[in-house]
């Protein structure tokens, strides 16, 4: 088992499934659990088919260096996107994501759209399907890339399964959105991890040598954390000054 891969896969999947669970619960409570479960199961089956049909054969057929470059670049793009969003939210440049608010908005949306005489509500089904499919696609992307790049698919899958089980269990016990999970903090942490692995793998793929091999991971993580904290401070100061100037 690779600890880094399990942690990164766990965090990435947990964030995505918290969002999917919010939609699932909102539809379940307003349109019935049958609709919500059908929507979620259909999305999961299609996702599993897509990953199984496209993901694994790709890994077996394409040379390792090419995969490392493509996956590293994708991870890097994904990581910097999350990191940027988390920094912007902490600095006050963007509004914080609120699961409770998102849940109430979704409930309102579902209530205004009433379909009578059907056991499965098409609007509710489509909402859950879209939510679970898109969030699941992001999670599958993280699991696949981490698993392939670290050459430890079981670790990546284990991290993802633990995250799904934990999020579902918490959702089932609380029966409300997991708003107490600090989503932005998770996004910040996973953003740093994805960026770090992306930089390392892209670097290796283009022929760059890393100081002390795997020990560089810790150094890159620390550098990224310190610089990101500095950026949060700097941009929150900018936002305050600009707010005061207006």
């Amino acid at each position: 088992m690779n600890f880094y891969t399990v942690t990164a896969s766990f965090l990435g999947t947990a964030v995505e499934f918290v969002e999917a669970l919010t939609i699932f619960l909102a539809v379940g409570f307003t349109k019935g659990w049958k609709t919500a479960i059908y929507g979620a199961v259909t999305a999961i089956v299609i996702l599993a088919l897509l990953v199984g049909l496209l993901g694994y054969p790709l890994v077996k057929l394409v040379p390792f260096h090419t995969i490392q470059l493509v996956i590293g670049l994708a991870l890097l793009l994904f990581g910097v996107r999350w990191l940027r969003k988390a920094i912007a939210r902490y600095a006050g440049l963007k509004e914080m994501h609120d699961e409770e608010k998102a849940y109430l908005e979704e409930v309102e949306k579902q209530k205004t759209h009433v379909e009578k005489g059907k056991s499965i509500d098409i609007f509710g089904f489509t909402t859950v399907f879209n939510g679970v499919f898109l969030e699941g696609l992001e999670a599958a992307f993280i699991v696949l890339t981490f698993g392939v790049a670290a050459n430890s698919m079981p670790s990546a899958v284990a991290g993802a399964l633990i995250a799904i089980a934990l999020v579902c269990l918490l959702g089932f016990l609380l029966k409300k959105p997991l708003s107490m999970i600090p989503e932005n903090m998770l996004k910040f942490a996973i953003g740093i991890m994805l960026t770090c692995f992306g930089v390392i793998w892209v670097g290796e793929a283009i022929g760059i040598e890393w100081w002390q091999g795997d020990l560089s991971i810790l150094v890159v993580l620390t550098v990224l954390l310190i610089v990101s904290l500095f950026q949060i401070k700097y941009f929150s100061l900018c936002a305050t000054v600009k707010g005061r100037d207006q």
Binding site: L93, I206, V220, L224, F235
Partner: protein, 80 residues
């Protein structure tokens, strides 16, 4: 097809400036490493360029925030 493209775009490229900065950093590092054999410095150069790309994108976000604030607070007629 268009929807699939939009999904991939949304997954990977949220901000064009950030994506461009990241890809150009990788290309620049690759070319410099090819010509000068940067050795262990190559990694730190790549990391620095990526950090600069994030900073560049956040600066633009900060300017957008300023502009948004200005419109919301200053333009007559917006809230009237």
């Amino acid at each position: 097809m268009k929807k699939a493209f939009l999904v991939i775009w949304g997954l990977l490229i949220d901000d064009l400036r950030l994506a461009l900065g990241t890809i150009l950093s990788v290309i620049a590092c690759y070319l410099l490493n090819l010509k000068y054999d940067l050795g262990e410095y190559g990694g730190w150069l790549l990391l620095s360029l990526i950090i600069l790309s994030v900073f560049w994108s956040l600066s633009a976000e900060s300017r957008k925030y300023k502009k948004r604030n200005k419109i919301e607070r200053g333009t007559p007629g917006v809230h009237s």
